[in-house]
Symmetry: D2
């Protein structure tokens, strides 16, 4: 499993280049960045060289398609997907992710039909470039009622949905934070085949009742109460070998320079990886 | 467009054979029956001959798969589909239909995902036999709250769902009763392409506020307030050429012998077809 | 059915704008042009206005994806499809076409697998914009052995392939020239449902043995031996309502100015439409 | 990886029950048998108990659908698939396999289109029962010209085809005999992800030029020249954990009782597994 960083939780990072540099300096192997931007700024060869020199791979790109709102916005944004996928593939990235909110102001069944059609098409396009689509179920309880109608949020529902989408390159973005807030178990992880997991996020949660955990109240790995050692050990046991990327969404920006925050992240990763015995 | 009859609304019919006989005698051209049963009782050649002699085609068969409940029941019933489709195809029937309830006790989004996957598979199997799958949206308002969570019930939502199912042999079972209770318009029909319609039901409704119309309070064509002349004329205008089948679901059995009820149905069809100018 | 023109056979046309102008002046209703280019040159509103003012619609755009060669070229060209489809849709065009050569230097079965996957993805992307994909089977006999291995060229094979591609927005580009060189019949047309036809080409052929007809030896409608009256009447009978577009591929450029050649085309259309009684 | 036996190569086996008994006695863990037949003879509970008691799982069932000939035969046999899949699933079997001949008397491209559609539907039905479809590429050179037109036979072509079929539950039946006769390499195995392999066959080949190896000239594992140690070690290295089943197709029945032949098979498995270090 590759240790990964994203911008979230690292303060005022200036650029993807800085993230690559810091990730490399502190023993991380993956970053979640915009592959197309890196190529646009440096050219393909230089972008590749930069990643190789630093020993960094791109863990995942974000899905550049608006699939949650109107058909017009979906269509209009869809044209960004093939270029983004081409760029990611050119840099060796094989993962593209999006999150699934647990409630919606739309009719839930109708929205599920629309979302299924739209995400299937995204997966089909990504598949042409050898890229997989990861769907992130979202666990914090307050989001289940944040919009008018409940959508889906559990692992089992998400796996059913992936089945319905019906493309072989669709899987999970599996985030320890949502696993925890959904009160899923180690056994739930062990029941997965590794190819069902496209990407992993790792975050910790504060010691409050699980129903009160806030989506933007995430902690650095090892600084909270989630059994991240168990989480990582189970992922390792089933054979997952991809990136495990930190994404610290927080209401208040953390104190410290990006370098200090990467050091803090490294300490957290060291702690939970050691506890997991990997 | 073919005038069609189903068992519903014809009292104590003894058999599909009696329905075929009465339909033929009173100028109908289609019946909705169980194709496999007819073949089982008479053999394929005799079944074919009986239909041909009477000038009757099978308008549609019902979907013999339980797609609304558990995965176990779905799997267990799925094996009935290929034989049913084979029988229907052998008798020249190219339509298989099922209805979609407008609310559900399941999580609506999750059920939509499950239903999409199950009905897609049904469509795929039917497609191997040249048979189309018709989905019937259901309009009566009381059913929208009959179960805990709203599902879908409008024409537009159903068309979106058909798009999501993504098989070219899926379309609408279009029932005048649901068109009326949804307060859809003539223009809504005119916006359809004929190949989007797999089968048509024709029923009338009593003169009560539309929100109070009951699903099992259907009237014979021409005996109620639905603009069936406009409905039929619009279907004819867009080029629909399939069966238009009566399905009188009523809380109380209608008075009269099956033959009298077929005569009453014929009078209704004569009236609304004449009013439609077809 | 709309009378349509393409650049092929009209000599030294200066631009799509000139084609629109001439088509309009001589009673045509459709042109096959590059929708994206028109918008790029005039802006969307002006492009729309120009078409409306001239009473011209875009019959079809060409598929801007290289699906016949390597995976690299396919991927690299795929990103052009969404923008092209968005442009076409913005101008009201619902058709995008490509031709299928009847032989290949690749292993035919393997190429069929690759082509199926690639064209399915093209259809899926086009479908998001409400655009259909038309596949043109190609009849001239000399092309069947022009490359090492036979591929497919008949109507029946192409319909089977469309079934395999399995997207509801895929159909035929039906060209009278290939219908003739394949020695297909009027009954073959009558067996089609109109929605199976995405676009129609009309061309005539010289009075040589059918096996000797050359793909680039096409004549203006009415100047050759193809039963174009029967062809058009049959299309009309089954309910086809789209464009019928001339595409005169010829080894030598025809004599005359574009305007003279459009006049000649008009005379040909007048003749065969009259003979068809439409 | 589970040691598996099929009927092929074990002489006059009386029944699947005898195969289960002998497999168990000599340290095998899997058999390829007809799950539905076992249930029909014993009932589901007894069938399950018999397998459990003997420590045997069903490695794979054969595909009971005729996908290689006419549409009529395909349709007619399709109805056997759901019951077969239901039976297999009830006994815990998750694999169903079929072989792909490397040449065909049909037009190769057209047959590829038909086969793609048919096998996709088979995969879709199997998927409803949690069963995967394994496609076996066939390597012996003489079969490439045994029928008029070349089809596909390499690993790479088969993987492309699986991609085209486009269902996530389709993968390879990977047979050492075809790997060898195709002159594929250890690196070709190492390039596979384990989930791409549905089932494995193990057979050996005589010391004749590879182009002269006959499909029905197979030897027991360890009695020929194939690098089965390398084959098994590579499969183990990539994480394949399913059955490795012997299928000795031979022109002449082997000498000896079934029990003696199972003993001979065991000796072969012991030898090659030991050489593979597993």
């Amino acid at each position: 499993m590759l240790r990964g960083l994203s911008h979230a939780g690292l303060g005022n990072l200036q650029s993807d280049e800085q993230l690559i540099e810091l990730a490399s300096r502190y023993g991380f192997q993956a970053v979640d960045i915009d592959a197309g931007g890196l190529i646009a700024r440096h050219g393909l060869e230089q972008a590749r060289a930069q990643l190789e020199e630093k020993g960094i791979v791109i863990g995942s790109i974000g899905l550049p398609v608006e699939w949650r709102t109107t058909e017009e916005e979906f269509r209009s944004s869809l044209k960004h997907l093939a270029p983004a996928a081409e760029a990611a593939a050119a840099l060796g990235c094989t993962s593209c992710c999006t999150y699934v909110l647990p409630s919606t102001d739309q009719n839930a069944a109708h929205f599920m039909a629309l979302a299924t059609r739209r995400l299937r098409l995204c997966a089909q396009i990504l598949g042409a470039y050898g890229i997989r689509l990861g769907l992130e179920f979202v666990g914090p309880h307050h989001l289940r009622t944040n919009w008018a109608n409940p959508f889906i949020w559990t692992l089992a529902e998400t796996l059913d949905w992936i089945d319905t989408i019906g493309e072989s390159n669709v899987g999970l973005l599996f985030d320890s934070f949502h696993w925890y807030t959904n009160e899923h178990s180690i056994a739930d992880i062990e029941a997965l085949r590794p190819e069902q997991i496209v990407h992993v996020h790792i975050n910790d949660a504060p010691a409050v009742p699980v129903a009160e955990v806030l989506d933007n109240g995430r902690l650095y790995p090892g600084e909270g109460v989630i059994d991240l050692a168990g989480f990582l050990a189970a992922l390792n046991r089933i054979g997952y070998k991809g990136a495990v990327t930190q994404e610290i969404l927080a209401a208040e920006a953390p104190q410290g320079s990006p370098e200090e925050l990467v050091q803090r992240s490294k300490a957290g990763f060291d702690k939970v990886y050691a506890a997991a015995g990997i």
